[in-house]
Amino acid sequence: MKSSPLGYLALLLHAHLPFVRHPDKEEVLEEDWLFEAITECYIPLLWILEELYQGAIRCKLTLSLSPTLCAMLKDPLLIQRYKRYLLQRIELCSKEIERYAATDPERLMLAKFYKERFQNVWKSFTEAYAEDILGQFKKYQEKSLLELATSSATHGYLPLLKNPEQAVNAQIFVAIESFFDSFQTYPKGFWLPECGYYPGIEFFLQSAEIRWFVLEAHGLLFSEPRPFLGLFAPIYTPSGPAAFGRDSLSSKEVWSAQEGYPGDPVYREFYWDLGFESDLEYIRPYILPTGQRKFTGIKYHRITGKTEQKALYDPKKAQERAKEHAENFIMKREEEIKKTAPLFPTFTKPILLCPFDCELFGHWWFEGPLFLKELIKKAHQSEILELTTPLAYLQRYPTQQICRPTYSSWGLEGYSKMWLNETNDFIYQHLHEAAYLLVELVRKYKNGNKQTVRSLKQAARELLLAQASDWPFLISKATAKEYAFLRVITHLNRFSELCEGIIQQKINKSLLEYCEYTDNLFPTLNLNYFS
């Protein structure tokens, strides 16, 4: 530990995927979202943590895990399917090695590279981790490398769900309960989905014993009164939970068109994938049974530039560049802290909070985990800054300014436009109506017979699933739009039918069992959160 750093850097990775589980179908494209994330993001992250731990490198990371993601990572069916997915990739790599053995040494090297990588993932997942990724994250929290946080139950965008308030309450408390199920401890941090904040949300967080959350920069800067230490210190909301502002500058360096690291020409090209490049007959066993192509995770090219003539990927060069980028990132953070620290009063020290979507590191940006590892190593060497977590920082510096933040998000234009616009606004009327109905039914029937209570719980699950921020986002972006539509409709229809059964006191047992089997998350759901 450094004797006295000038300031702190808190890296926060937010890991989330919507609940995608289709037990009634043998192969569903969208389930690959989870499989790709495990392979490219979560397991590489665990490798890094292990390596840093073994190397006695000081590492402090914050990882928020959405409850839907946790539910999927624990699900036996999805785990089974994930293993099938991995084995298929290893088999495909072997075919690729055979294909290029005599003809193309460069592609051969890359095929071997991928095979070794998939094999390592397999070995870690099945042997070292015993198919329990959450258990590994828990282990690193216990070793103080990680602070685990949660997010709302199904990643509902809370500013648009607050009618009725019980909907927000349930999203928060079901998440807390689910976190406890996974980690046998309660979270102190809460990732507001999409950094979506509205004044008043902190009351619910206080009730849930949440000590901190994150705001988009303007959500904190435009607080009242004006936060005198800007983004370099958290504030206390009037009801107690602290709010940290996102350091926009560092976010920009990772994401933006001008300064973003992931767009470097030597990095791996995300979109050029064997699943789309190769001959259809050759790739057929590894794509959808319908013949619809999909990503395989085997990508031979680097970004190269704005050209269709992509050069082959060179892992070593990419590795070097990731190190350079990590060094550059830390250097800039040190500069920020060096300039800021002398202005600070002695009761606190500057902190930069840099939140990122976890899936950026490894999936979108293949070299991201390596960047992260190098970044942590550089921070370990730094005399100026030290890695911390929001909770550790608040424990060390419990005196902060009291301010009221302003409504904000990290979405398009900094507010709610991405989740509420002319393409997706029709959702909310149904979500709000359904939430009111559920609140009323819980009030009336929560002490009903066993089947009624089961139906109420499943209706609550269906409503929570329909509330996910992913659906309006995907509709808004016209990305997987049909799937998103279908999901909202499906969950609301299931909700309606279940409620109809409760009201009529004619529970459709087969429907209930089917819904429980399909949408099986939150097994210990507590209906009181809706009342």
Binding site: P225, G230, G240, W255, G260, T399, Q400, Q401, K417, E422
Partner: protein
């Protein structure tokens, strides 16, 4: 029930596009209304209110919710951003029909009583966007009607309030500091606050430091802002800090240091527009993940780093490999085709630089007496990487 706002009623003149062929009347249409403040004799203003288009497929496949017998009126208003509001409502259509000869209107009221906008309503309209709202303002919406030519407004429904977010720094500069003991749960802190007569909603106030203590804390620093310190003027000191912490050129801190122009899209917050050369036709978008983030690729290189040697203490290795052996004292010895001196007892030592790499070193001894040759080949390699890097490019288990 009626409500007077104390302001002249403004009229909208909506201009509806024709219904698409086959469209049902209850499918919402996107209309662009032109605001006309006739009452104040002003020129026409461009759109602020519009009703929304609705995908026609959705309502037909979504089952309607069962009714519980309780009559529920839904009328909500949401702030979308500092300048935009969205309202929707579900009303009993019979109410409309009962007063269909009346002039139905949607009104937007700011700060409790200021009528800001008004739009004639049709039965088919169920949602509205308003795009000229004022930041940091309380709004509510009203639906009601005027009977024939009367100016008497009959209020039918009123939405809950929505508060548009602030779009600039607060003018309030007061500094209230609190120390919240991290080891105590909120439950315990609430108990302490309650004893002080403070509600849990304002819990932090119970742990607020007294002003003299705050003044003391704020001036206990190793600050370089000498002029402010010398004056002992807390607020001039704070101004100096804030001028630094909120720079206008955003070179140090947030890109939000200056208010965000409402019309300027912050592209870096949007997603999937990255990889501008990415051909959508090649990859159906349904293969992409849901993600709220985005990043863009670029061609150019990033700014050069300061060389690492200047920033970290050096750790360089020079490794030598020593090969010791013994052969016939009269032998002629070659290691890697170089002649090597042999000691009287036939022993020899060979030392060479052992840099990273793969080596294949032939060692050949020729016995000049017996004219015999013995040959060995040594294979070895050296790889050094910063500890604790894994053996391969990516860390492996």
């Amino acid at each position: 029930m009626s409500k007077k706002t104390g302001k002249k009623i403004k009229h909208f003149t909506p201009s509806h596009p024709p219904l698409p062929h086959g469209a049902k009347k209850n499918i919402l249409l996107k209309t662009k209304a032109v605001f006309s403040s006739k009452g104040q004799g002003k020129t026409q203003k461009e759109t602020q209110l519009s009703t929304a288009a609705q995908p026609s497929s959705f309502p037909h496949i979504l089952a309607s919710l069962p009714k519980t017998g309780r009559k529920q009126l839904f009328f909500y208003l949401f702030a979308v951003d500092p300048h935009s509001l969205h309202a929707y409502w579900i009303m009993d259509q019979n109410a409309f029909r009962a007063f269909e000869k009346s002039r139905w209107v949607f009104r937007l009221v700011s700060n409790g009583s200021q009528l800001e906008a008004e739009l004639p309503l049709e039965e088919s309209t169920h949602r509205i966007y308003y795009t000229k709202a004022k930041p940091n303002t309380r709004y509510h919406a009203e639906i009601g009607f005027y009977i024939s030519s009367s100016t008497h407004f009959i209020l039918i429904a009123k939405s809950p309030e929505a508060h548009t977010p602030a779009l600039s720094f607060s003018a309030k500069n007061e500094i209230r500091l609190a120390t919240l003991p991290p080891q105590l749960s909120f439950q315990k802190l609430i108990q302490k606050a309650t004893k002080k007569g403070i509600k849990k909603e304002t819990l932090a106030e119970a742990f607020e430091l007294p002003p003299p203590k705050i003044h003391q804390l704020l001036t206990e620093k190793e600050s370089v802002i000498q002029s402010s310190e010398q004056t002992s003027d807390l607020f001039s000191f704070l101004d100096a800090i804030q001028n630094f912490l909120f720079p206008q050129d955003s070179s140090l801190t947030s890109s939000y240091a200056s208010p965000i122009p409402p019309s300027a899209p912050l592209k870096e917050f949007s997603s999937f527009e990255f990889f501008p050369w990415f051909q959508l036709k090649d990859f159906p978008l349904q293969f992409l993940w849901p993600a709220s983030f985005g990043f863009e690729t670029k061609e150019g290189s990033f700014p050069q780093n300061e060389p690492s040697e200047t920033r970290h203490f050096p750790l360089e290795l020079e490794v030598e490999l020593v090969i010791r052996g013994k052969t016939s004292p009269n032998a002629l010895l070659k290691v890697d085709n170089k002649k090597i001196q042999i000691a009287e007892d036939g022993s020899f030592t060979f030392r060479f630089d052992f840099a990273d790499g793969i080596y294949e070193v032939p060692i050949e001894a020729f016995d000049q007496e017996n004219l015999q040759t013995e040959k060995l080949v040594l294979f070895f390699s050296r790889f050094s990487r910063p500890f604790p890097d894994a053996l391969s490019f990516f860390p492996s288990p």
